[in-house]
Symmetry: C2
Subunit: 330 residues, 2 copies
DNA sequence: ATGAAAGCGCTAACAT
DNA sequence: ATGTTAGCGCTTTCAT
């Protein structure tokens, strides 16, 4: 197919090791020969074979980014940051999404291991991290790590939900619903905990009837709203586990002609790009997506460059409340 | 690092070729031995090295998906379809975005060639396709191909804009603005052509003052709306080159308290996921994103599997008008 | 500065 | 059914 260094060497009547040296800018080739080699390489349309190189250098110059769902703009934004950062440092990123399927996640990890990626950034939902460590390559988890020999970057979900709920309370809303995802998600647990904390700090208890769970979609949010409505228990605000869900709730509240934010308050989570859009203007807890992506990539690449010297780190960012038009301004 | 087939062979006192055969499910190994091999491979935590395999099979089982911008949900949705389809057929996808930078695009193509990807799906914006053909691997363009030895999948943009404009006219809007992106984008040219066609079919001419160009963002859309407004030329409808732009226009029209759709009609393009969202309900021209992604991947993989027998195809899909609440229902 | 040779981990053609 | 051998295209010692 494409020319090889041996082809070039033959053409020039020299050894392929000289060609390799020249092409890689390594010392040990006279300027004259180097020029000739570079020229013929160009002429012959030489394209280095990364697989062959990787086989001997034991570096693929590739990292993997594994998340549950790329339909979620939140992950897409992080992916983008990871990709740019890695690219700037000469690495290619392979992105995988696994539809929240743990089996699939494991398969992907195995596949990436086969491809000999140099490192992995992963939003995992397993409890056990040992299989990640066993990979023998640097891993940065986008969840709190359960082991100290693993790096992680996370955002304080308990704090985030706490602050969001505090805000809702301070706005004067009396009966706050919590609309989230599946119970098995750690994210759900943490945000629900923050929610609970904030309420109890104001001597309020969680009204179980005002908690509804589904998926991370606006359809699910709408469904939950209707379910809550059906119970007859009054509620005048909702904290949603993410912005997609909030969108569905928003829609239903509008359908019911509830005045937002006067008669109904709504807070989302993640500050997805559409939350700030003119027609949405959703109050939400922002996570520093850009920062997360850049940091994750840089941390991983440092780890790859020097596994010994680079320390494992567990970074926890703080979320930030962004008040828009779905809650009262104080 | 990880065990190799030779390690396994040594452990069992046999040759590595038998190990290879067993691991790959090829004939020529007794069931008993095969079982033993599989077992020790498992025990030793063997992970095949895809680079080594690829080097000899000349297949990386990887394809590349190259688009201008992943901040654009349109491309993300296609990417998702491509990824799923490829994954189901055993291929990994590497996604690249190049911020509409042609130099960067070329770099990425070169890099992917070095990685020896088995094929490329690309939304390219170059006029010259020969360098794609020269790659010597299957390529599916997401633009009309300029050569017959290249496959392509495209959606009829002229038709789409034509139909959208027709709809606007039939709704009774009198002064229709066209808000788009840069002139150098083929997409712009095509959609503008469709726009012009529809107008002239109704004996109307394009009012140059009602044409505004910027980027594919809602900020740009808003800016264009204001610019149009500043000219003083009245307009009661707008066809936007994509939904992001339409969003910005939507916002400004609301700001001006124009009744939508009664006093102002708005049509977007692409049917991005937020267009159908409860609070947006934007009339738009939908492109079969899912279909495009799946088809592109399948076509490419067929081409990879059998370059000889699989014919190059140039598929053109038809877009579909989705009427929502930003234009009158007839 | 250049060349010779070994080997990365694997598949595959050819023995036996 | 199993073993032997020869590469795939490259980097990297070690000679010269």
């Amino acid at each position: 197919m494409s020319a090889t260094i041996k082809d070039i060497a033959r053409e020039l009547g020299i050894t392929h090791s000289s060609v390799s040296r020249a092409l890689n800018g390594k010392p040990g080739v006279s300027p004259a020969l180097r020029r000739k080699i570079l020229e013929t390489a160009r002429q012959m349309g030489y394209t280095p074979n990364a697989m062959a190189r990787g086989l001997v250098t034991r570096q693929s110059m590739t990292i993997a980014f594994i998340v549950p769902d790329f339909a979620n703009p939140f992950f897409v934004e992080i992916a983008h940051a990871v990709n740019s950062t890695a690219s700037a440092r000469g690495f290619t990123t392979i992105m995988c999404d696994n539809q929240w399927d743990h089996e699939e996640e494991l398969k992907q990890i195995r596949l990436m291991a086969e491809k000999r990626v140099d490192g992995i950034i992963i939003k995992s939902f397993g409890e056990d991290d040992s299989y990640l460590v066993d990979l023998g390559i640097p891993v940065v988890k986008l969840n709190p790590a359960t082991r100290t020999d693993l790096s992680s970057i996370d955002v304080d979900n308990v704090l985030g939900a706490f602050l969001a709920t505090e805000h809702l309370i301070q706005c004067g809303y009396q009966h706050i619903a919590f609309i989230g995802s599946h119970t098995d998600a750690k994210t759900f647990a943490d945000r629900f905990e923050g929610f609970t904390k904030a309420l109890s700090r104001h001597d309020r208890a969680v009204d179980e009837r005002l908690v509804c769970q589904g998926e991370y979609t606006h359809e699910s949010g709408a469904r939950c709203y209707d379910q809550l409505l059906a119970t007859g228990v009054p509620f005048d605000a909702a904290l949603c586990e993410n912005d997609m869900i909030a969108l569905g709730v928003y829609d239903r509240a509008m359908r019911d002609k509830r005045k937002i934010p006067e008669a109904f308050g709504l807070v989302g989570y993640d500050d997805m790009f559409f939350a700030g859009l003119p027609m949405t203007q959703l109050t939400t807890m922002a996570q520093p997506k850009q920062k997360i992506g850049v940091k994750a990539a840089n941390l991983l690449l440092d780890l790859i460059a020097d596994p010994e010297k680079t320390k494992h780190r567990n970074i926890v960012y703080k979320p930030e409340l962004i008040i828009r038009k779905t809650t009262k301004t104080l």
